[in-house]
Symmetry: C2
Subunit: 284 residues, 2 copies
């Protein structure tokens, strides 16, 4: 039976590690504040916002929310972004995506001030993930995957890693982060032929296909570590990942559960990034 | 015996394809002009510059050269970059790298105007290779690898590709370009364990390790396509690649020779990018 790589344990470590920084900032009159921008009322977004709010409050940081109706025009969203850019009381920004289709994602991403880009949506942050020059923050979920492996003592260097999914939100960035850590990384996607065989070559598999419980035990073998990035709400209200957890867990060496897996670490990384952004901002 | 994927044939196709654009620009009084910036007197750089000059002249474009002594200070190089940025008569810039160690590569790269960055050294161009949003030019060598495969009718989509080397100049960008073309790409490097086994999984192998004749037939199997990106001048004055050509050619399905391989296509792509930059520039 696989070892469970639970996220809450690590999330608590991360949140404790920033506690002193938050206190120091507050003593100087600065409350690290996260700006959340939402378009429409997607259940996923609202549920994530709620859990983020709880965690932010627990460590003494604040959240400010900017909501737009689902039919808002692009200029309205750009206006909100310009507003948070200019607001010195907002230290980091989370923009919920994917945006409704009538928005031009590239234009919206480019509008955010790189210094407030704590979840890696601007080109400048993305370039850094590619070049590894240490400026900006990688996407929180990609960082969460790497730190989960570190936290549970799973070596990355020299390991074969297969990333399932090539999105800019998670697949490509996590592949780069793991490559920078000296893994040998293969990026798979919808056009990969004989996916199960390719996945079986891996020591570590990062699953980010975005389809609930779509990856079963035919993809895996013993001795593999599985990081499941998917979070989906099922009809019965329970959450699940991209992997068929009950089926795969008896087979592999280690796996992230859902809930209490990557997602909770992602939130903690986001808050840590926001606090770092507040510190950097103060130094300038 | 492997089919030879010769570069000159494709280079001529590329250069012919821009001939009409060059003529049209010249009729409007614009001679597409490449700015070359060199620090020191490296034999490789000088030899590449000579062949580029010949090719530029053959298609009616111009080259302007900016040379700095090997012990030039960073500010001197930045000064030259600002000069070519401001000069409307220079349409694209090639900066020979690696620079001597006393230069800060990131600072130098950032100084170049993205619109003149025809070989993908700025963060904005590199971000585009990662995000695939169609702005800027990918590195010429990476483009040359992809176009060589296309020219010789070698399918990329769905194929297993192994890239040997993870540099920003070639390894990472060519991996991204081939992934955007729906290959399943694995990036290998000095920390990869059992490299020959990993390379044997590939249908297409891009070799960019930067060590002359270091990759022999123990890495390959039949039915593979080998793109050798290395160009090295041997003691006897002959050039060679990263692959031991004589040893590998009898084994694999197709291979790029050196000379007349990737390098000559790279020059043609560079000139094409420069002409495109001149056209874009004129439109603004």
């Amino acid at each position: 039976m696989a070892r469970l790589l639970k996220g809450k344990e690590l999330a608590n470590v991360i949140l404790r590690s920033i506690q002193r920084d938050v206190t120091a900032l507050k003593l100087r009159g600065i409350t690290p504040t996260l700006g959340i921008i939402r378009v429409g009322e997607r259940a996923d977004d609202i549920s994530y916002k709620k859990s983020l709010t709880k965690r932010c409050e627990a460590v003494g940081t604040a959240i400010r929310e900017y909501c737009l109706p689902v039919d808002a025009i692009q200029e309205a969203l750009l206006g909100v972004i310009h507003e948070v850019n200019a607001d010195t009381g907002i230290h980091g920004v989370l923009l919920f995506r994917p945006l409704p289709r009538h928005f031009d994602d590239a234009t919206i991403r480019a509008a955010l001030l790189p210094a407030k880009d704590i979840d890696c949506i601007t080109d400048s942050s993305l370039a850094n993930v590619f070049t590894n020059t240490g400026v900006g923050f990688p996407p929180c979920t990609a960082t969460a995957c790497v730190e989960l492996l570190d936290h549970y003592g799973i070596d990355i260097a020299g390991k074969r890693v297969v990333v399932l999914g090539r999105s800019l939100v998670i697949g490509r960035p996590v592949a780069m982060l793991l490559m920078h850590r000296n893994a040998t990384v293969t990026i798979c996607h919808t056009k990969t032929i004989d996916l199960p065989s390719v996945v079986k070559e891996a020591d570590i598999v990062v699953v980010a296909v975005g389809r609930p419980e779509s990856i079963g035990c035919e993809y895996f073998r013993e001795a593999q570590v599985v990081i499941d990035v998917g979070i989906h709400v099922k009809d019965d209200g329970k959450v699940c990942g991209d992997v068929r957890f009950d089926e795969v867990t008896p087979l592999v060496q280690a796996i992230t559960p859902i809930p209490d897996g990557v997602g909770v670490v992602t939130s903690a990384v986001l808050i840590r990034n926001m606090v770092s952004a507040a510190q950097r901002n103060e130094r300038f």
